[in-house]
């Protein structure tokens, strides 16, 4: 079974600083996909960034980038120039390929990120 672990329950940084959220996962599959989702107080889960395991290049979306280390099964999220609107719960999630079963997401426990003015 796949598992996802986020070891930082809470983090707090000042606006405009850079922050890195950690995530490790465990799987025996060779092909899979990793995601970071953001859940603000409104509770809607919003995709931040995705990474295909077969791609060595780290994904980047504007101020958000990942450090994907496949051998170490590590998938950290870096937020540059953090903004007040980045305040939210951040979830790391894993999904395998459909042939292995359902297209389901396995989530970590989440990291509560607070950006202070």
């Amino acid at each position: 079974a796949q598992t996802v672990t986020q070891s930082q329950p809470e983090m707090s940084v000042q606006e405009a600083e850079t922050v890195t959220l950690s995530c490790t996962y465990d799987t025996s599959e060779s092909n899979y996909y990793l995601f970071w989702y953001k859940q603000p107080p409104s509770r809607q889960m919003i995709l931040v960034i995705r990474q295909e395991a077969y791609k060595q290049q780290n994904a980047t979306e504007n101020r958000f980038s990942v450090n994907f280390q496949k051998a170490a099964k590590s998938f950290s999220l870096k937020i540059s120039d953090s903004q007040l609107g980045d305040t939210a719960m951040y979830f790391c999630a894993f999904t395998g390929v459909i042939i292995q079963g359902a297209q389901k997401l396995v989530f970590g426990q989440g990291t509560r990120l607070t950006i202070n003015p």
Binding site: Y33, R43, Q44, M45, R50, I98, G101, A102, Q103, L105
Partner: protein
């Protein structure tokens, strides 16, 4: 285009009652999934449906059931409600393609008293 829509937004039920939650996927998405998110935890997978067939079930009791309709909308039913069923129930839709983004609705808050 509309995103994933869920109803009702909030509801309160009594132990032992039954609840039905509804979800409409993004237009063109034929896969619908349900997740349970207990306060302070990450979402847990309950069901996935594709083309009206159950494609996956998480570790939930038989009190939980779901179905998908010809228009790809879905219902989640929970019987004999327990206090522990109090949670945010998230519906998600996606294309049935490896690694495709799974989009979530705003959720239905269920409180069991």
């Amino acid at each position: 285009d509309a995103g994933v829509t869920q109803s009702p937004t909030h509801l309160i039920k009594t132990r032992g009652q039954h609840v039905t939650l509804r979800c409409s996927p993004i237009s063109g998405h034929k896969s619908v999934s349900w997740y349970q998110q207990v306060l302070g935890q990450g979402p847990q997978f309950i069901f996935q449906y594709y083309e009206k067939e159950e494609r996956g079930r998480g570790n939930f009791p038989d009190r939980f059931s779901a179905r998908q309709f010809p228009n790809y909308s879905s219902e989640l039913n929970v019987n004999a409600l327990l206090l522990g069923d109090s949670a945010l129930y998230l519906c998600a839709s996606s294309l049935w393609t490896d690694g495709n983004t799974i989009y979530f609705g705003e959720g239905s808050w269920l409180t069991v008293v």
